[in-house]
């Protein structure tokens, strides 16, 4: 082996390293060195409002790009209508591939270089970015169900979109207790904080599941877990797996003839990715505790909010997302953000969080009828649920609107 590098190659290697370092510096060294003071320093009356977004556009969770697409479509619509108080929304979407380090970098880029007054981030990893944004006093809207994202004492500039994951557990538990008090309840979920918080919520409502099974995200064949649940005598199942596992599991349940009363996780009950692929007949009579409208559900074909969403996503976004539940989540979030911006005069930082917290009863295109956005527990705007039941083609009401604000008290 005469490959031990001699000095000549090494010298060359070093030159290369020096070159690469300088190159990387040069590549990323932007011309504008305007490092803003953070919190919405774009105060001028007709300056654009910079909204930074860090989303997984690549990587295992790149499906969430649809959320960003929905939000972008709403911002575009607002711009087409003349912006917020005459100010255009300049939204910047960066890819973080669901890597916390890249999200943290993106947050710095958005604040330092783009001068964003508001930064939107996706997922539980948002809690890693929150301290930086809070230190910079930049308003932060995090798309996550984690309880940490509603801790407005620790992170006063962070606001969570989506309800807290534990509330759904409470609503589902309450519905089970009302409908079949003697049920033997099982939970089949994914091995992360989502299922943990849902089970915590069930416990808070006084229901301890008899069996809780979790699988890592990405595991699709859950036949053995289903058999285990059946063997344990579980007759009421909260099915909270995500992605292709949800429809696959519903199909398997039909195949093996295991038909418990089934509650589907709200974000995995839509027609386009869950119930549809499962075969509607395999999901008939299933329940879900829902807060958003599923744009693919024929029930909302004439709904004003869903129609506006479909028009906007076709015109400003990716038309393929017209049936996407994720996209309407982002669309609804953008509507809430614009509402807060209108109140804050386009400012981020304190003005934005104050405006967000003072939202009290506004309509939103994404949420179910008879619900409104209002700042509730943990400053979350969405905290009302309605239990729906699938009739084979559409999700129909199967209960009254339940507010997590009331659940928290009792």
């Amino acid at each position: 082996m005469s490959v031990a590098p001699g000095p000549i190659p090494r010298r060359v290697v070093v030159a290369l390293a020096a070159g690469s370092l300088l190159l990387t510096a040069a590549c990323s060294g932007r011309a504008d060195e305007s490092s803003g003071s953070g919190a919405g320093s774009n105060t001028g009356s007709d300056e654009p409002i910079v909204v930074g977004m860090s989303f997984p556009l690549s990587g295992p969770l790149s499906g969430a790009a649809a959320v960003a697409d929905g939000a972008a479509a709403y911002f575009e619509r607002i711009n087409a209508e003349g912006g917020v108080g005459g100010r255009e929304i300049d939204y910047q979407v960066l890819d973080d591939a669901y890597d916390p380090a890249r999200q943290a970098e993106n947050a710095r880029q958005l604040v330092d270089q783009e001068d964003a007054g508001i930064v939107l981030t996706f997922g539980g990893i948002s809690s890693a970015t929150a301290p930086y944004l809070n230190g910079q006093k930049v308003a932060h809207v995090a798309f996550g169900t984690q309880a940490a994202l509603s801790d407005t004492d620790a992170t006063p500039y962070t606001r969570g979109w989506f309800p807290d994951g534990s509330w759904e557990g409470q609503v589902v538990a309450q519905h089970i207790q009302d409908e079949q008090p003697d049920a033997s309840v099982g939970v089949l979920g994914i091995a992360n904080d989502l299922t943990t918080s849902q089970v915590d919520g069930m416990a808070a409502a006084g229901l301890t599941p008899d069996k809780v099974l979790t699988v890592p995200p990405g595991v699709v064949d859950l036949t053995s877990q289903l058999n285990e649940l059946r063997a344990a005598g579980v007759d009421t199942l909260f099915l909270a797996v995500v992605g292709p596992a949800q429809p696959a599991t519903l199909r398997t349940m039909a195949n093996i003839g295991y038909q418990p009363t089934t509650y589907l996780y709200s974000a995995a009950s839509d027609l386009a990715t869950s119930v549809g692929p499962a075969g509607p007949e395999n999901a008939t009579d299933a329940f879900t505790a829902q807060y958003f409208k599923d744009p693919a559900d024929p029930r909302w074909a004439d709904d004003e909010g869903v129609q506006a969403f479909k028009e906007d996503i076709a015109e400003y976004g990716d038309e393929a997302n017209a049936d996407s539940y994720l996209a309407i989540e982002g669309y609804g979030a953008a509507a809430a953000i614009v509402a807060a911006l209108e109140d804050s005069g386009g400012e981020g930082g304190d003005a934005f969080t104050e405006a967000w917290d003072s939202i009290d009863g506004i309509d939103n295109p994404a949420i179910l009828p008879d619900m409104q956005l209002s700042a509730g527990p943990g400053s979350r705007l969405v905290h009302q649920y309605r239990v729906l039941q699938f009739d084979g083609t559409s999700w129909q009401d199967a209960g009254d609107v339940v507010d997590a604000d009331d659940l928290a008290q009792g």
Binding site: M1, V3, A4, P5, G6, P7, I8, P9, R10, R11, V12, V13, V14, L16, A17, A18, S20, L21, L22, T24, A25, C27, S28, G29, R30, F55, L57, S58, G59, P60, S62, A65, D69, A72, V93, L94, Y98, D99, P100, A101, R102, A104, E105, R108, Q109, Q113, G124, I125, A128, T129, P131, Y132, G135, Q146, A191, N192, D193, G317, D318, A320
Partner: protein, 360 residues
Amino acid sequence: MATSISGPPTRTEGAAPTPTPTAAPALAELRPMWRRPVTWAWTALFVVALVVPFLISDYDLFKATRVLTIAIAVAGLNLLIGRAGQISAGHGALYGLGAYTAMILVKELGWAWPGAVLAAVVVSGAAGWLIGLPALRVRGLNLGLLTIAIAAIFPLLLSRFEGLTGGTIGLQLAGSPITPPAALALTPEQFQFLLLVVVLAVVLVLLRNLTTGPMGRAVEALRVNPLMARSEGVDVNRLTLTMFAISSAVAGLGGALGGLVLASTVPDSYSMFFSLTLLSACVVGGSRTWAGSLVGSAFIVYLPDVISQQIGSTTGGQWSQLVYAVALLLTLFFLPAGVAGGAGRWLARLTRRLRRRSHA
């Protein structure tokens, strides 16, 4: 991967038998350190690195600092893979172990960051020594699989021991504890970058010295043929464990500094995917060159970003990933010894040809 275990393949050079190539390096090695061009080149690079923080924005520095923390871990991997001929697909876990150790000590026990970083180095080194134990019996692909299992289990353990690690949301500090002393008029980003430059320089010098001289020859023997090494009087088991421990301690050092600069540790940061990314940085940069650790880290940090900025969109689907994968494949195909190794070899051939011409 196989090439990195057994060292880069030897290229068959031009048919003309030339005595110079073999003689020249030997002569150059005899020159004192300070007269070697390589010393001067590294020094120049170091000086440039000391000037850079005053030229580019804090955001770019933050990103460059991340490259340096990863480069430290990749240097540790280079020692293990390129020099000792072992393989680890689990260095992301050791990087994460360093980050979490430092973070817990700073956040929960209120340690000063230098102490926490040192403790993280010790903890990761000890963990690496333990991982090395099975490596005494298992080699090659089996060892790769075993270390992949460690990489896969690590984030699950972090989520499991919620009381200690903060569970799936991890641990965060309000800001990085690595702040410049008041006497220095530096921004935190400038200070962190300079600190990392110095740390990386020290690490590279130490690793380089470790792999030259008697120890280096023992390591080389271990890589080429452990049986031969044993017959030459090398304590193969002890050396393997030492290599694992040092390599892991270095990875933990990178992780500890990375975690504290980011002021956040989350299980999602240290997924199996991250371990494999480190491995690809090692191979892409060139596992047998120390400069390769820098090149490889820059590759894995900057390339995905550049690609995403060019073609990433909310509607573009997976194109950016596909382009990155193609770039990775092409690099490995055309530069099997890594970017630094391949470019080095190419330029060596060029200088040799020039020298031959000047001799003629």
